[in-house]
Symmetry: C2
Subunit: 286 residues, 2 copies
Amino acid sequence: MNFKTVALLHPGNMGTTIGAAAATSGARVIWASHQRSQATQERAKRAGLVDVKNLTDAVRESEVIISVCPPHAALDLARKVAEHNFKGVYVDANAISRATAEEIGRTVTKGGASFVDGGIIGSPVKQAGTTRLYLSGNRAPEVAELFSASMLNARAIGPNPGAASALKVVYAAWTKCTDGLVLAIRALAAIEGVDQALSEEWSISQPDLTRKSMRAAAVAAPKAWRYVGEMKEIAESFAAAGLTPGFHDAAADIWQRLAPFKDRTDPPPTLEAVIDALCASCNKLR
Amino acid sequence: MNFKTVALLHPGNMGTTIGAAAATSGARVIWASHQRSQATQERAKRAGLVDVKNLTDAVRESEVIISVCPPHAALDLARKVAEHNFKGVYVDANAISRATAEEIGRTVTKGGASFVDGGIIGSPVKQAGTTRLYLSGNRAPEVAELFSASMLNARAIGPNPGAASALKVVYAAWTKCTDGLVLAIRALAAIEGVDQALSEEWSISQPDLTRKSMRAAAVAAPKAWRYVGEMKEIAESFAAAGLTPGFHDAAADIWQRLAPFKDRTDPPPTLEAVIDALCASCNKLR
């Protein structure tokens, strides 16, 4: 094990399990509770992460920093770490475009750190086989080794910083966009009065879509607030390549309308409640 | 059988089999070869449709006219039929928005016809169970009866003209949009150099998508030229309801780029060829 101390910023639902995975493999995993919520503190404590209270100490004590935060906060966090003159390995594991990842790379390397790009695919790590952490950059193999004894499948995919973010972009470009699309379709069907006919037709020819729309309501709608930023990063990625940003700008629009379901997971929203919320957001009354 | 003579305008790949289904049930099915291609003439002949040469005779001889044509041509065809003072039942079975369907309804009823709205879901009728013709409007049940002895499943879904088009809209809003999306994603993955990694991740967590992208290239790309108009009709439907038109405007953009694959079905395009075409349409070179 090359690295003894890893800082995890910040312990959200996903990040906490990434930190715990590093701890499983023998690293000391620290975090900084300053300005974090009570829920985050409890989550980090349950996972056995060590609270060093503030960012200054987290930066000073760690050889690796792993950033796991909402997409719109990723660059700010990197800037703060760079201001603290971090010299270790900075891993950005967020759902951001290649361009944003590269900007984060420039930001942290200017301060003397090494940059490893990351992209997480799957659910929080609670069992083996559910979650991959893709890593790219010169020091990606060393970072992957941090998780060698854990249930997290860490995969170094080459020296090109930006590749891991690009992979996450093209992956989420399907999953989170089509969850938004299927909910928008259900809303339009409700507005047009053809929801029952659509359900019957789907049961014949698209048998997965009823389940997909229920799952999008229950699982995705509570995360809609942070999907907005991710969809915008993906839209920018398509635009930068000369393809259309439209699919993901539209998905951002749908997730923005569902942002009020933030963290409503107990119980999760019903499909009916999500369709009603989308319909209520429309100009046209049913 | 209420109707003895049905005109089918025009006998494309789909329409020909709809006409043949009406003929199976005992109707005389006519069409008008004026200004139609050699391929259409051969297709209609093979299906046993009776050529009355011109629109004037088709209108005069028929009690029902069924319009099956590219979405962008549907309104023009209805106007021509109305100019001929058609007094029978006009069935628009095209992939158009409710608003366009309603405009077609106003156009043909002004001339004295009855209007039945239609939406076809499925493939050309070659075996039972593959194709539904949804119908709405006061006379929808009579039109459905035209196909009672055929392999086409015709379903009257109520008196509301526009409902059948709305159903077709919400149905195709998934299928043809996601075919465009998956091809756009493959193109971005190629441009970003992460296509191999994406394929490997999909094989773990999204096992249907490799097959879906290959099928979109082989089956959808040759029809891209007429998907453009359909996507615009769908985008307008979402916009009219107060939802975002963005998903389907983006799909129209992708299908427009693939329009040069028109009718390239023998052999069908490979996924590689379609990805190459999308990449070539981008500003950024690989």
